[in-house]
């Protein structure tokens, strides 16, 4: 069945979600072409490839890329397909290499992507007359750019600048990825496959504070992370700006130091945060009193920041995770989940924060376990015939006429619009973006609407 993008767009704009979008082959084919073929997509963090020759292999849906630091220290992204007969050039997942030699016929490439070796060049090709290696380099995606060490690519050579794409979301992204000038240490990723549509995780992280008190009630009951209880969760603010949005928790009264200390940051990290972040960024914590928690950058990069108790004595330590919802098909996603911590943090903090991460998120995390059970079930339900008739209810925070039930937060210190309390403001924003990409291959408003 062909996808009626105009109808999808209208439904989503009205606060409905046609249930089929969570498991439909034709919708997925459109997403592959118009979203994953054009948006800025996260591949890796620079800290994963610190030295010349270090590489990781990552995908954009079905396209494999070698993300490597060349001999000059520059990050390069090469399409992992030999120019000769299409063999996958690098079959390891990570390592260090000055060159890649194709296993099939032996064409060799430098880590900067130049073709530097062709066996029997004279005999086979008549030397330079037939083939000039100097003119050949591995294919690159349309664009590559880096922000705070996060390496992004777009398959579209005409993609806007990454900084413009991130827009106001940079203000929030810095909380997770630039807590000091030292940058991040990144560990992982853990990788696992779940039978869930990629959008569900992205939507959940961008704004679903409503699920937390119920889905994650067990985590409160065992006193692992008590702020998730409903009374506290509904006091958080939900913000959205440009291509991303997220959730926050309301902090108890106090100064910046007291509030950052409440979530477990030690004095030296609080000091470096204050040196690193702008006054406007610090105001989110110090004046407005909100601490960033989960967030999503369209389409499939999410972040999370929580502060559980990591030992018997109840020591509270925050952690950061970067995660990618890599689509495998309409009903399957490969989750990439990294642990991230400020590089200048003391060793005890790094270790305790890693422990906090493992207990909460990732393949064994006690939050993530229950999330994925929900998401696989939704995906399974969405593939049937009745799901094609059902519009799901994405209208929390607006009335029947579509008017907001609450006013945005006045004097919100960051970019974009924010609301306090439960609401599906961000899921609507994310899905509106999604439908605009399906229609146009970009975030531009749909023509004639």
């Amino acid at each position: 069945m062909a996808v009626d993008v105009a109808q999808l767009t209208a439904d989503i704009a009205a606060g409905d979600i046609p249930a089929l979008i969570y498991n439909d082959r034709d919708v997925f084919e459109l997403e592959r072409e118009r979203i994953f073929g054009s948006a800025w997509l996260f591949l890796a963090h620079e800290a994963e490839i610190p030295s010349a020759g270090d590489y990781v292999v990552r995908r954009i849906v079905d396209d494999s890329f070698i993300v490597i630091r060349d001999e000059q220290g520059r990050v390069r992204v090469h399409f992992n397909m030999c120019l000769h007969r299409g063999m996958q050039l690098c079959r390891a997942e990570r390592g260090n290499a000055s060159h890649f030699r194709c296993p099939y016929h032996g064409w060799s490439y430098s880590n900067a992507g130049e073709l530097v070796g062709v066996p029997f060049h004279a005999d086979a090709y008549g030397g330079e007359h037939g083939l000039s290696p100097k003119e050949k380099t591995l294919v690159t995606p349309g664009r590559v750019a880096i922000y705070n060490g996060l390496i992004f690519a777009s398959l579209d050579p005409a993609a806007p600048e990454l900084e413009d794409y991130l827009g106001g979301f940079r203000y929030y992204l810095d909380f997770y990825t630039r807590q000091s000038d030292a940058g991040l240490d990144v560990r992982g990723p853990q990788r696992w496959r779940v039978k869930a549509n990629w959008k569900i995780g992205a939507e959940n992280f961008c704004g679903d504070s409503y699920h937390t008190p119920h889905t994650h009630v067990s985590v409160v009951e065992i006193e692992l992370f008590v702020d998730t209880k409903a009374r506290k969760r509904k006091q958080g603010a939900l913000y959205f700006t440009d291509n991303g949005g997220g959730t926050t928790y309301k902090l108890p009264p106090g100064t910046y130091e007291e509030r950052a200390g409440y979530v477990g940051y030690p004095p030296e990290l609080i000091e470096s945060q204050r040196r690193t972040w702008s006054a406007e960024q610090q105001a989110l914590i110090a004046d407005a009193g909100f601490m960033p928690s989960a967030a999503t950058l369209f389409p499939n990069l999410s972040l999370v920041h929580n502060w559980p108790a990591v030992n018997e004595e109840g020591l509270i330590v925050p952690f950061i995770s970067i995660r990618l919802w890599q689509p495998v098909g309409p009903g399957e996603t490969e989750v990439y989940s990294w642990f991230a911590v400020d590089r200048s943090a003391p060793d005890w903090f790094k270790q305790a924060s890693y422990k906090a991460y493992l207990m909460c998120f990732g393949s064994s995390g006690m939050f993530e376990q229950d999330d994925v059970e929900n998401w696989t079930s939704i995906t399974q339900m969405a593939r049937g015939r009745l799901a094609q008739r059902l519009n799901l209810y994405n209208r929390m925070g607006i009335d029947r006429e579509g008017k907001l039930l609450h006013d945005p937060v006045e004097g919100w210190p960051g970019p974009g619009r924010a609301f306090v309390g439960f609401g599906e403001y961000n899921q609507r924003e994310l899905l509106n973006l999604w439908s605009r990409y399906l229609a146009n291959g970009s975030a531009a408003p749909v023509a004639g609407r």
């Binding site: 997942e93 393949s363 229950d370």
Partner: protein
């Protein structure tokens, strides 16, 4: 390696078989009782590395990196009745084979290596999951019997094909 006919080998093998029974019957409190107070329970992330298998794991990232506190929290969570991911519970079967026993580095310890194949079935229409791994354990003799002091789980997949690790290996 100790002979397959040695009493120590038999004891270690018996420990693993009984432990598998506890895990498959979800008798997690009984399982906790088999753990030493200083238990280190790790499952490093496996990666596809060039040329060698030796470098095929991440030193600083694991799927599990647990002590008694975090293992106990995981089990307390299952006991709340609100751990949706295991409600209804998975049906699991831990197949333990290729058991080899070695002298430990301390007099009261033995090292036992085994293969484990975890079969996990959820609901009625999902495909079942398999997790295949080798485990290297340190078992310690106590007055109450053998206790698990250390477990390193080496998964054979770099990308796990199970929706989460709300199960133990």
């Amino acid at each position: 390696m100790l002979s397959f006919t040695s009493a120590t080998h038999h004891e270690a093998h018996e420990f693993l078989v009984r432990e598998a029974e506890l895990l498959d019957e979800r008798r997690y409190r009984d399982w906790l009782d088999l753990l030493a107070p200083d238990i280190v329970y790790r499952m490093p992330v496996r990666v596809t590395a060039p040329e060698t298998l030796e470098h095929g794991l991440l030193e600083d990232m694991a799927h599990f990196d647990e002590d008694l506190y975090s293992l106990r929290k995981r089990i307390e969570r299952f006991e709340t009745g609100h751990a949706w991911t295991e409600d209804p519970p998975s049906r699991t079967r831990h197949f333990v084979t290729n058991v080899r026993t070695f002298e430990g580095s301390a007099a009261d310890e033995v090292v036992v290596r085994s293969y484990v194949l975890l079969f996990r079935s959820r609901g009625d229409i999902r495909d079942a999951d398999l997790v295949s791994a080798e485990r290297t354990d340190v078992l310690r003799r106590t007055d109450a019997g053998l206790r698990l002091a250390r477990r390193e789980i080496l998964a054979d997949e770099s990308v796990l094909r199970t929706q989460n690790l709300a199960v133990f290996l």
